[in-house]
Symmetry: C2
Subunit: 324 residues, 2 copies
């Protein structure tokens, strides 16, 4: 059985060994650039872990693991254009380093390349792999569209927000796990359970991210605290607050969020004060714990040896980074 | 056996019956919009014709035909952003009707959808179909990148230009034909010949387009004559002229192309005069005739009944539109 770090090394090595044509340079150089380092490789590692639950030999799952990582990096390329994010993992984003056209077309080529890698899997399982991969990929696009839609909407409910992050964050991790199970020729019900494990971990991860953005320790979180509040971003915290509040408090919260006269620190403090009054922090912590408990329960119902689920438990804990 | 028009109707009907989710609207509405009408459906029709060469029953090839048409329209969506083309088939392009982000993300979803359609083909031939589809798709991206590269380069040779249009125009038609042959479970050598038929027809078509842009009849061509000359576009005509000319004429040609002081009509007239002196028109017409003859020879070597190749001959003639 492989540990998290062994699998991360395997993935890193496989990615380094991928070969691309030299020409046209502006098509392929950005692919090398965006895959070369920095990513945590969570999804391909999860895929290999899922395979390793059922099989000692995981070579059969490597092409799918690479496909998922290349696909993930393709989405980052295009998302960074759409979101006008200029840096990625401490480096200029592809559209900043080159330009939008290069990022669009290299991204397209990466998506095709992801499919090409996936097609390296055993043809007996290929149709099932493709079905899951297609559903996953379209789900990620839907999530990105909802995320962009929400920026200009004032009617984002908790349920709509959860559906958006399920698609944007949960589905790719879930799909990766299911692909790993399919590669290992696990039972369909086991592949489905792993998918649900991924959704629960993904949701817990995103809710934790929302929580840290408002209540975290800047040094540990790696970003300034309060960014979501200042951006008026529809998060689990905000949608929960709007759901929980009475009409007067809801009015007060919206007024504070849109108040152009307050300093940044003052706005963060005030909005956090309203969240505190409404118990938003507790509600969020409980939701995270619930998703995490679901995830653990699912792992324990897989009917594999209890020792085999340890790496996936560790992956969940690493992702939730519960020490923060 | 099906005629061109029967197949075009079949494709049109199948496209009309494609179903999409309702939400998120900004992801799916542009897909419906860009597929709804106006396209000539050349590639899916060619794919079905290739299948029909070997089989009377073509239902097995329909998912692949739709995949190719959806993929083609995805490339138009993204190309129109990159080339800043505001209209497509007489309607606003998707990035004009909505915006760049919508066109990027809907395009991504269309590419995934193309793969999803392809996966509807019989699983016995699916790995081969995917291999051809992936190679075709990546070739189209390479062609688009070379095309963009050429805008800022002064060293585009005839050979490089031909390689670019082979990728940008030829490969998708060729790939479509090969996919049709694979669906029909034709012999691999027959599928390869059909691929080469497609490349030759594609090259002939693009060279003819270049010729008409400078020597055509505006009423028939549908665009003003001389656009390529005014844009300084590297076409078969220009690269051939630069190859054929002596140093003095080459210098004269480049000076005229970059001359900001001439009127449009004067520039077109002058450059066309140089082309005439160099025999560029004749060279181009001969190249078109050669590709067309190659294409016809390939069709005749397929070892299918002579009557079965008639629709593909007609397709070639329609594309070359030899009456113009």
């Amino acid at each position: 059985m492989y540990s998290f770090h062994e699998l991360a090394d395997i993935v890193q090595n496989e990615i380094k060994n991928l070969k691309y044509p030299q020409q046209p340079e502006l098509l392929y150089a950005p692919i090398v650039y965006s895959l070369e380092e920095g990513g945590k490789r969570i999804r391909p590692v999860a895929l290999l872990m899922a395979c390793n639950l059922f099989r000692d030999e995981i070579d059969c799952a490597k092409p799918a693991a690479l496909a998922v990582e290349v696909f993930h990096n393709f989405t980052l390329l295009h998302d960074d254009i759409m979101d006008r994010s200029d840096t990625r993992r401490g480096k200029p984003a592809v559209h900043t380093r080159w330009n939008d056209n290069v990022a669009i077309l290299s991204g397209d080529a990466m998506m095709i390349y992801a499919y090409k890698l996936l097609c390296g899997c055993d043809r007996r399982v290929l149709p099932q792999l493709l079905e899951t991969f297609n559903e996953t990929a379209i789900g990620v696009c839907e999530g990105q569209q909802y995320d962009m839609d929400f920026e200009s909407r004032d009617d984002v409910t908790v349920d709509r927000y959860l559906e958006m992050i399920r698609l944007k964050t949960g589905v790719l991790l879930a799909g990766a796990l299911k692909l790993g199970a399919i590669c290992a020729e696990a039972q369909p019900w086991q592949a489905e359970l792993l998918y649900n494990f991924g959704i629960n971990v993904g949701l817990a991860f995103q809710l934790q991210d929302d929580l840290f953005d408002t209540y975290g320790d800047a040094a540990v979180f790696g970003k300034p605290i309060g960014g979501d509040i200042l951006a008026g971003k529809k998060t689990f915290l905000l949608t929960t607050a709007l759901k929980t509040a009475d009409a007067a408090t809801r009015g007060e919260l919206l007024a504070r969020l849109h108040d152009g006269g307050m300093s940044a620190a003052e706005k963060i403090e005030t909005v956090r004060g309203i969240y505190d009054r409404l118990g938003v922090r507790k509600i969020t912590e409980k939701a995270i714990a619930d998703y995490f408990r679901n995830a653990d329960r699912i792992l324990n119902s897989l009917e594999v040896g209890i020792e085999r689920i340890v790496p996936l438990q560790e992956l969940g804990e690493t992702l939730l980074n519960r020490k923060k």
